[in-house]
Every structure is written in C-alpha cells, then in structure tokens.
C-alpha cells in the first residue's frame, strides 16, 4: 500500500510528504524532516518536550498522528528564529539563564510563544498555568518564568554576553543530543528485559528473531560476559545477564535491526526460559540468612552488599556527658533522577585494516554519559580492546543528576552490535527503561541518637542506616560511607559513631543521585535537631547557630573544612524570611522551617585510586586570538563549559565569547573523571586555571620585554596586556599572543588538578574527604490543608556558600534546581512497587512521568536565592560546589515547617497527603508526642 501523501507547512515551508498512517508527527518531524529540536522525553504525553505549534497552538507531537494534521501550519523550534536572527523569546531565555540541559527548552519556548502570541505581558500565574504541562527537571522553572516575563524588556545587547557558551544551540534546536544523531547505514538496537525479579536463565533461543527480515544481529549475556562495575570494589554487573536476572527490567538479550519497530518485534521472538527464584524485596528480608542470595559471590551469607562501622571518639562518654539524649527513627523513600533526556548511545565500529579480529579495530561511542572516562575504560575492559582504539564522545546531554554517571547496558550493547554488524547502531531507552536503569536515591531506614547539653551543644551522635541497594553495586560502597561520613557537618559533633549496611534486593539498582548518600541522613539529623530544640525550648535557629563548624577546622572524622560560610547562609535566610516574626507565630496550618547542610566539592580520592590527576586540560591560543579549552569534563546542562570558559577568559583578560570549549571527547580532551560528586568547577576549573595561567605568564613575559617592565607590573584585562599604572602602554591580546608564539613556539599549555592529601588514616578514611565543602541553609514557609493532607509550599529562601560565583546566574540556577528536586523528593516523588511475592510482585509501579510525580510549574513555589561567597583558598578563583549541596536541607526544612504548621513530626519521606492525615489522626488519638518504641529498625546482624 502506497503511503498517503500529505501536505504540511513546516516552519513556513510547504512540504509534500509520504507518511505512513501510523506515524506520529514527532516521528515525521524528527526523522523525515530532521527537525530534531522536537524532543522525546516520555513519548506518552506526560512531559511536554515534544511540543510543537499547530496553527499557532501548542500540541504534543508524540500523541498526534501526522496524517491528522494534513494541511496545517506547523512550527518547531527550528522555525522560531528568523533567518539567523534570534526571536526575542530565545534571547530572553539566554539572557535569563532559562536553559540548563536544554532538553525541555524547545517545548518551553514554543508553549510560551503560543501564549505570548495571544496575550501581552502575562502575569506569572498565567505563565505557570500555561506551562503546566511542560516539565523541566533542571531549573525549578524560576528563570523560565523570568525569561517569559522579561521578553519585551529592553536590554543593552552589546554588553549582555550569553549566560551559557553553548546556550544558542539549545534555544534554536541546533543542539544535537545523542538520540538526535544518525549515521549512514545506522541500525537501531533494543534490549529484551526480564519479566522476573529473580530467576535463573535456563536458555535463550534467538534463532527466530535472527531470521526476522530486517534483523542484523542478536546478542545475549554470553557475548560479553566480563563483569564490571563503576567501583573496583563492586564488579557485579554484566552488559546483559549471563546466569541470573535480578530485577524486573534487567537486560537479557539485545537486537540490532533496520528500524526500531522491527527491533521491537524481534524481541518478542526471543524465547527465554527461566527458573524462577524466590525474590527478595524488603530490606529486612535481605538481612535474613534464609532468603536466597542475589549475588552468590559475596562474602556475607545474607544479602548484605556492604557493611561499614566507624567510631570517632567514645560516643558512650558523650551520651553520659549529655543533659538530654534523643533517639528517633526515620525512613527516606527511593527517588530517581528523571532527567528529561532518556539514555542514548550510538556506536560505530571501523574494522582493522590488517587483522580480522575486532579487537584491532576502532570503536567510537557517542553516549549520553556524565562520565565518558569511566565508560571509556569499562568498554576497553568488557570488549577486551585497547583503550586507545576506543573513542567516547558525549554530545549535548539532557540532564543527569547522577543517573548517567556510570557505564550502562546500552553502551556495551550498541558497541557490540556495531562490531558484529559492521554498521553504526543506536540504542535509546524508552522512559520506562530509564526508570529501570535507575541508580537513584537509596531508600534508607535510619536510627539516630543525639546527646546535647542543656544549651543545645551537641556532645555525641550515633547513627545507623540500612540502605536498599537494589540489584547491583553501582556506587553503593561509596553511598555506604557517605551516608555516615557527612553527619559531622555543618554542626560540631565531638564524638561520632555510625554503622551502615547496604543490602541487595531484587529491584532496580540504586546509586548516586544529586546529594549522593548525604540527603537521607541530613533529613534525619535536621528533623531530630528540630525536635531536640523543641524539647529543650530552644529556638530552632538558635540551636543550629550554637553548634556550627568553623572555618579552617577539622571534624572528628578528619574532614578538613577550609572556607565556610554557613553562619552567613543561616543568617541570610533567617533575615529574609522574617524567621523570628514567624516561627511559632503563624496561624494554624501555616508554618516555617529551617535546615542547613554541607556538601563536597568533588571526592578527594579517585575511584580507582591510581594516584593520577582527577582533571586535565589543554588551553591553546590561536594566531587569530581565539582561545580553545580542551577538557574531558562533561557539560550535562549545569554549565561547566561556561565555567571553564569563564575561568580562561578571566585569567587571560579576554571576552568569554572568544573562548571555545571542546569537552568530553576521549580522543581530543585530557581525562576528567566526569560530572559527578560536584567536582567539575573545583577540579576541572583548577586544571584549566593552571593551564591558562601558564599561557598568561608567557604573554606577560613578552609584554614585559616589550615595555621593559617586570611581569608583575602588568595585567591582562579587556583583551589587552597593559602596564598597570599606565593604560597607554599596552599590547592587544592578539599582539601579545603573536609575540609569545614567536618567542616560545606554538601556544598551548596543559594544566591538571589532583587534590592534596586529605582525610584520616583509618580504614574508610578515603570516603568523605574533599578539598572543599559547600554550605547551605534553607527556610521554607508552607501551608498544610489539614483536611486533604496536601502541603502547599509558599516560599523558599535559600542561601548557599559556593566560594565564589564564577557565573551568578548559573549558580542561582543550580540552587533553584536543587530546591525543586528536593521539594519533589519531600512531597511527591517516590518509586513504588507492586506487592506480593509471586509474578506480580516487585514491579515498579511508577515507571512513567505520569505516575512518578515531578512537580509541575503549578506545584513549584517562588524561590529566593542568596549566593554567599566565602572565597575558597584552593578553589579556582575561590569557587566551590553549588550543584548538589543545596538539595540536602530541603526535605528537613519542609518537615520542620510542617511541624510548625500543624504540630506533627513526620519521620518518613515523602510527606504524602495520607501520611500527613495519618499523623494528624495519630496525634488526635494520643496526645503524647514523645518517643516511640523502636519498631522500624531491624538490628543488623554481625557478619
């Protein structure tokens, strides 16, 4: 049957297209017309990323059949700029820093444009309503509202340089994310997933699938049986399952076919026989020795994956010394990153010219990864190929938050299928598969005991945690340390003991999510401290201020604190929120809460403990005056390219617009460990700074010769090298660069960063130390509907010590995004599973963006941000972390505000409406609100 011919006007151009009746408009626009600015975030109408305008109205192209818009006028993001001149809305998005990863941006701009085409100067409430179907995972929406409202504001464009060096591609649709790429002869891959939570694979029959027309290759776990894991200590994964499947959604086989539909069909022809094993879902069950082991090879006889016990000082003495001791239990539910861009990998293999073995060939993998270096080294291991023959490139990336910070099955499968077929192979996960890949926040049970003096001074803290690791190790060993190590900040804890146990269960693997490991205990501690303050009739702010850590101090577990602006952070949010006028004084139902936190600026120890630099950079000056930075760091939307460009521009005294950044390409860029643990500004920034300073020295050297002055009398600024006391005596940057090249040869320099030796000497001392720590305080005001249990956040005041804001807009954006994500975790987001031990148990219920509740524009409050600058002595130009820390204290600030509003203490995150109603009911039933008996926490048996 011939395909129907339809006529569409797309971005002003009349197109006659042959389309199949069942093709969606998104498919036609992306694949037939190459308009890849149309993004697929969920593919089910829940996220708004695929929004296009049809006859001026915003519609979801993923739910619209192309044949049903015949004759319509369609506008995509590519049609918004006019002949190379940006639309005011696009400029406004750039100016206000309204893009981070850029994946929601085309939908946001088009939806806003449809609104602005019919109404002028809409109020913020209108904008919120209008954008309520467009989810953004990065920004907390604030800068998007500002961009829409500020669209007609006159700006001096000569002085307003773009906030993000790579922002223009994001607002025009030109930015190519991995799934937007295609190569000639490219095949599509799909992965078959286990329907069982725990089962032994008896056999896999692939011949029927192989015979299906259009199928080029089928692979199973046996093709790549080498184990891997991002940490050397937990090598417990394979590209596809070899012997056993360990959660519903575990990968079992993969196919490469001529198109995605054929690949989908081929999966149905693969016959896998399983011997179903008893699954282990509950953490408490995982501790029992009479449940089946999920990983037989571990040293424990139950499903413990990692157990840590550390004591610093004698806590019993500390509790004996205390005037008041309180114990509480807490639970923190599992949540996931839900970045808008699903994982995608595109592999292309070039055979060796003189050997038939693939191992001598060359492989290029483009992947949506936060950690190209780890993917690179793991690919070499799994494929048994020299790393030098493998190139990993990270294209534009649509959000990570920790969910793309280790190797994933699709990267190995795409690589292997490309090797096997000799053709490029692309695999992009569906939204559901993104949920199965997970590596998000560990569900954690916590027990916390704190002793204080009458004045609130902390004498000792003891903490126990039980972490639900899901099916694999991921970064879990680090999580097991991080859950305990960071409780000694931002308050002085003179004696401290913790025990943590991470267990395997038959669920999608948990891993690092923004604020890795530290978020759950921070909730517990801040919530308990609030209770202690109330018990002792001390103001919640006062008890915090009395216990703060000091700059240039050492915690009891040997964390070295240098710059520290925690006091200023707390004072700022107290003042701005009107804390003292509000706390305890708002009408019933309304409340205000405070919490504070600290977080790392990168881990002091590299994962592989190789003693090598954590970040490397090359800076090169072109004869034309252009400067290029080459760094393996990955811009995942947070703006690291901009930060590196900014450091270079400031150092060399040139405009940021003259600096280009080449990032995340293992062939071109020196190693950077990746965008995780909030390390990029600090570590890659320092590497770039060092390289740029080296070049600056050369420029000053030739300029000093030229004017016959000393180098220290010169400064580099505004595109010139000039004698400081006489701006008439100067060389332009280009002149100086040419002279320097004549004198020193080609102008290029390298810089690298490795943290100083940090931390204690005890076993486990390597996890926790960071060259610098960031500090945050939040005050949150909210109201609770005591009849529905629904919490409405009215306002968030957030102050964060980032050392030095190298780009204030980007710093604010990170803080606002952290607040947004923290509120989601506090109130609405949780991974929930079907109950039952049979086939129907252990399935992730919330495996879509409909059922997993990311807050919409209408659920997100106004956020007021204060950037505190403590000028870090070792950070690049004084800067440190801002991308994760500001999440930590959000959930406890909400809990503490709920108490202020309705007088109930919530111990379990998220604070869903029914939990709030139950707590209120409970309060009515028993007026006592003291300590409960310990019921939730099961003692961890000794090994």
């Amino acid at each position: 049957m011939a395909k129907p011919l339809i006529t569409l006007t797309v971005n002003g151009e009349r197109r006659e297209l042959a389309v199949e009746s069942h093709w969606t408009l998104a498919e036609v626009l992306r694949e037939q017309l190459g308009l890849t600015g149309v993004k697929i975030g969920c593919d089910l109408g829940d996220c708004g990323a695929c929004t296009v305008l049809i006859d001026g109205k915003a519609i979801l192209s993923c739910l619209t059949l192309a044949v049903t818009v015949e004759g319509s006028e369609i506008q995509t993001i590519e049609g918004v700029a006019d002949k190379g001149v940006l639309h005011p809305l696009q400029k406004s998005f750039l100016h206000h820093g309204a893009t981070q990863c850029g994946f929601c941006t085309s939908g946001m701009i088009l939806t806003s444009k449809a609104m602005l085409d019919t109404q002028e100067n809409p109020a913020e409430e209108k904008i919120r309503e209008h954008l309520s179907g467009n989810l953004c995972r990065c920004t907390g929406y604030k800068k998007i509202f500002e961009a829409v409202q500020g669209v007609h504001v006159e700006r001096d464009e000569s002085t307003s340089s773009p906030i993000k060096v790579d922002g223009v591609g994001q607002v025009t649709g030109a930015a190519q994310y991995t799934d937007d790429l295609s190569l000639p002869r490219m095949l599509y891959g799909k992965i078959l997933r286990s329907p069982h939570a725990h089962a032994r694979i008896i056999s896999i029959e692939t011949s029927k699938a192989e015979r299906l027309a259009g199928v080029f290759a089928v692979m199973t776990g046996n093709d790549l049986p080498v184990k891997y894991g991002v940490l050397p200590a937990s090598q417990d994964e394979t590209a596809l399952c070899v012997d056993k499947v360990r959660f519903v959604g575990d990968g079992v086989a993969a196919v490469a076919a001529v198109d995605e539909f054929t690949a989908q069909q081929a999966l149905e022809l693969i016959d896998v026989r399983y011997e179903v094993l008893r699954p282990v879902f509950a953490m408490d069950d995982a501790l029992r020795v009479d449940t089946p082991k999920i990983h037989e090879e571990t040293k424990y006889d139950n499903n413990v994956a990692k157990h840590v016990e550390l004591e610093f000082g004698n806590v019993e003495e500390g509790f004996a010394e205390a005037d008041y001791v309180r114990e509480d239990e807490f639970y923190y539910g599992a949540s996931t990153h839900a970045m808008l861009e699903p994982h995608s990998a595109l592999a292309s293999f070039e055979p060796s010219k003189n050997s038939d073995s693939y191992k001598n060939g060359y492989l290029t993998l483009r992947s949506s990864t936060q950690t190209p270096h780890y993917v690179h080294r793991t690919l070499a291991k799994i494929l048994d190929m020299p790393a030098g023959h493998i190139r990993v490139i990270k294209p534009y990336l649509g959000g990570g938050f920790g969910g793309k910070s280790e190797p994933f099955a699709l990267e190995f499968c795409a690589a292997w299928l490309s090797i096997r077929t000799g053709r490029p192979v692309k695999i992009t996960y569906t939204r559901e598969e993104v949920f199965y890949s997970h590596r998000g926040r560990h569900a954690t049970k916590m027990w916390l005991k704190t002793g204080v003096k009458d004045d609130g001074t902390i004498t000792a803290v003891q903490y126990k945690a039980l972490l639900d690791g899901g099916a694999y190790g991921s970064y879990g060993v680090v999580t097991s340390y991080y859950t305990g190590q960071f409780l000694t900040m931002p308050y002085k804890v003179p004696r401290y003991k913790f025990e943590s146990t991470r267990v395997y269960t038959n669920k999608p693997p948990a891993g690092p999510k923004r604020g890795h490991g530290a978020v759950q205990p921070r909730f517990a501690f801040e919530a308990q401290l609030d209770r202690i303050a109330a018990d002792l009739s001390i103001d919640s702010a006062e008890i915090r201020l009395r216990n703060l850590v000091m700059p240039n101090s050492l915690t009891v577990n040997s964390l070295r604190i240098t710059s520290c602006g925690i006091k200023e952070c707390i004072e700022k949010v107290l003042r701005a929120s009107g804390w003292y006028e509000k706390r305890g004084k708002l009408p019933r139902g309304r409340g205000i809460g405070l919490a504070a936190s600290a977080y790392i600026s990168g881990a002091g120890k590299e994962i592989n403990w190789l003693g090598l630099p954590h970040s490397g950079a090359i800076v090169k000056i072109d004869r034309g005056g252009g400067v290029t930075v080459f760094c393996g760091s990955s811009d995942i939307g947070q703006g690291s390219n901009t930060v590196l460009a900014s450091i270079t521009a400031r150092t060399l005294g040139i405009d940021i617009g003259d600096v280009r950044v080449v990032e995340a390409d293992t062939d071109l860029t020196p190693v950077d460990l990746g965008s995780y643990s909030s390390r990029v500004t600090f570590m890659a920034g320092n590497a770039v700074l060092r390289a740029a300073e080296d070049l600056k020295r050369k420029l000053l050297d030739v300029t000093a010769d030229h004017f016959e002055v000393k180098s220290h009398e010169l400064s580099a600024t505004s595109g010139n090298i000039l004698v400081s006391d006489n701006s008439e005596r100067r060389l332009s940057f280009i002149e100086a660069a040419r002279m320097a090249e004549a004198k020193f040869g080609t102008l290029s320099s390298v810089g690298w960063y490795a943290p100083p030796k940090l931390g204690g000497t005890y076993k486990g001392a390597g996890a926790g130390p960071s060259p610098s720590y960031s500090f945050t305080a939040h005050v949150i005001e909210l109201e609770v509907d005591e009849e529905t249990g629904i919490v409405k956040i009215n306002k968030v005041w957030s102050a964060h010590d980032c050392g030095k804001a190298l780009n204030k807009t980007l710093v604010e954006g990170q803080i606002e995004g952290c607040v947004y994500m923290g509120l989601g975790e506090a109130l609405s987001e949780e991974l929930t599973f079907t109950r039952g031990r049979g086939a129907a148990g252990g399935l992730l219920k919330s495996s879509s963006l409909l059922d997993y509740k990311l807050p919409t524009t209408l659920d997100t409050p106004p956020i007021e941000v204060f950037v505190v600058e403590s000028i870090d002595p070792e950070g690049p130009l004084g800067a440190k972390e801002c991308g994760e820390g500001p999440l930590l204290s959000v959930p406890p600030a909400v809990a503490n505000a709920i108490y202020d509003a309705i007088g109930v203490r919530l111990s379990s995150v998220p604070f869903t409406p029914h939990k709030i109603l139950s707590a209120l009911d409970e309060k009515v039933r028993s007026k006592e609100n003291g300590m409960r008996n310990s019921t939730m926490f099961v003692e961890v048996p000794a090994k």
């Binding site: 109205k57 739910l63 029914h914």
Partner: protein, 339 residues
C-alpha cells in the same frame, strides 16, 4: 521512540460518511478523536487496532450552539480548550468551562476532545503500563478479555471476577449532574440517551456504546435560573495528573437556601461515575445547612468503595470523596449567598 504498529486511518468527512464507515468497518475499527488517550493506549499495546476512524474531518462534530429552547449542544470533536473559551459555554455553564481547564495540561487540552474525555478508557495501575510490564505482572482481567476469558487475575483486588478499572473522566461527573444527554450515531442509528446511562459498571466494557457507534454530541438542557454547579477534584499535582477522587455537583438553590434539587456525581473511584443518591436525598427539599452538608458528605463517603488500583491509599481516596462533597456544597452555598 515507541513505534506504533501499522494501522489504516479512515477519515470520513461528514456524519453521513461516518455512518457508512462505521457500517463498513463492522465494529472492527477504533475511533480516534484527539488521540491523547487512544495513542497512549496504542503505544502501551493495550489497543492494537488494524483500522482507525478519525473524526477530525467531520465538521458537524465541531460545533457549539445554544438555543434557548434546546439548550447547549457541544460537538464531540470540540477540543477541551475550545469549549473552555466558548462564549456560549461561559455564558450558560461556567462550571463546564472551569472543568475543562483542570484537565491534564494546556497542550493536551488543545487536542483532547469532549467526546474523547467522555469515552476515556478506564484506568488501573495494572493496566496503564507497557506491554512488557503487563506481561511481567501476568496479564489482568481487563487486558485478557476477550483474548483469553479464563483469566481471573485481578491484581488490584485479588479474587475479583470483575474488572474495576476506574472511570477518570473529569467532564462526566459534572455533565451528568447537569442532566446532560449524548447523541449516539451508528451505522444504523442516531439516537440520544442520558449521559448517566452511557456508563456501565464494568471496567472492561465501560460504555454503553456498540463498536459501530460513536458519541457525536453532548446536549445540556437550559439551566434552571437558580442552578449552581461545580466540579472539584483531588490530584497529586496541579496539572497533568488524573484525579484521585472527583465530584460534579449541581444544585437548584432558592433564595432561602432551600435546595430544590441536588445531583451529586462521584468520579474517579469506580468503573463508572457514581450518583450519590442517598446524599442527594439528604439535600433535596431541605435547607442547605452545615448539618445537612455534613450528612450529605457522609452519605457520599459510604456510597464508594475504592480498591487499590490508583495513587494514594484506598482510605485516603474514600475520605476525599466526602471532603470534596462537603467543600463543594459549601462553596456553592457561599456563591449563592454572595448574590
């Protein structure tokens, strides 16, 4: 991307052609309106049509008219956004405009239609999932019928023989409360029935609609001069989400708060909108006092028995029904007092 399996799209361009097409396809085609429900179902593999009849070219289905003697007629293919901003709707039934603006998200409302919302497939945690997911859970009542009738696996309510997937339409409870009727067009017929009779208490075959019929039009009688109505719901987020509980209420209130008539329809709990008859009886002919409002709320709560097939807990959803009824009645009373 999730690829749709191939199907043919037939696009009749008049009611007459539609009638013929319905006859020709002999009930073997799925009817496509805005697609915001059906395309999701096809992507999830719960619907695998070979043929799709798209109604977008039938202009008769896109009209909104108001005649004093007849009332308001809204074509099934009018989008929710069009209805929300229609002068006729805003003048005569503001609550109908209001409910439209609470559904899903603006982009969905630009495409989703009234007919589609009224015919919205019933929803359940164990059904609205991918093909893979449902296979992993081992199928369910709603899915296996009619392919395999011997399944008795209801995961939401083990042991149940009858599917209780939820009617999540936001428009249905209010429109029923307002006394709406629907015009049904088939290959052989063109008839009208009360909207309340359009729903069947069966999660699988939840519509009183033959496979060769389509819902063509909604007819609302001219409102009583003292009529007040509203739709309220609870949902997790303020956009995108389906309701966890909803009510559509219509009252005829005299000057002294005497309740001449009351219709209370509860949505999003059962397989069909449920009329809270006992609650209506409490109110009818009585004064709308706090006490009567509370009684009506209690009666509404006892009318429903949610099962765990949606978000939040069963107890919570049940409790919210009473609360919504209570709050909506109070709101209508205070609106009334202000005039």
């Amino acid at each position: 991307m999730i690829r749709l399996p191939p199907f043919e799209v037939i696009a009749p361009s008049s009611l007459k052609e539609l009638s013929v097409t319905l006859g020709d396809t002999n009930g073997d085609a799925k009817v496509l309106a805005g697609g915001t429900d059906l395309i999701v179902n096809i992507k999830q593999g719960v619907s695998v049509p070979k043929r799709v009849i798209w109604l977008g070219k039938v202009n008769e289905l896109r009209r909104i008219t108001f005649l004093p003697e007849e009332g308001l007629r809204i074509g099934a293919m009018c989008s929710l956004a069009e209805i929300a901003s229609s002068p006729e709707v805003l003048t005569w039934y503001h609550s109908v405009s209001d409910v439209m603006l609470t559904i899903a998200s603006p982009a969905v409302r630009n495409r989703a239609t009234l007919g589609g919302n009224l015919c919205l497939d019933t929803r359940c945690y164990y059904y609205d999932q991918s093909e893979f997911w449902r296979a992993a859970v081992g199928g369910c009542l709603k899915l296996n019928t009619p392919v395999c009738a011997n399944s008795d696996t209801c995961h939401a309510a083990p042991g149940w023989k009858k599917c209780s997937a939820i009617s999540c339409s936001d428009t249905a409870p209010l429109l029923i409360a307002l006394g709406a009727s629907v015009r049904i067009i088939g290959s052989q017929n063109d008839n009208t029935l009360p909207l309340s009779q359009f729903y069947v208490a069966d999660g699988i075959h939840h519509l009183n609609l033959r496979r060769d019929e389509v819902l063509a039009e909604v007819i609302l009688p001219r409102p009583h001069p003292h009529q007040r109505s509203a739709h309220r719901k609870i949902r997790s987020r303020q956009a995108i989400d389906f309701p966890l509980a909803s009510v559509g209420i219509s009252l005829v209130l005299e000057a002294d708060f005497l309740c001449r008539d009351a219709r209370i329809i509860i949505g999003a709990i059962h397989t069909a909108p449920v009329e809270a008859l006992a609650a209506e009886t409490v109110l009818r002919g009585k004064e709308l006092t706090d006490k009567n409002i509370e009684l009506a709320a209690e009666e509404s709560t006892s009318t429903v028995k949610p099962i765990p097939n949606a978000g939040e807990t069963v107890g919570y959803r049940k409790r919210m029904v009473g609360l919504l009824v209570q709050r909506t009645l109070r709101e209508l009373r205070s609106d009334h007092a202000q005039q």
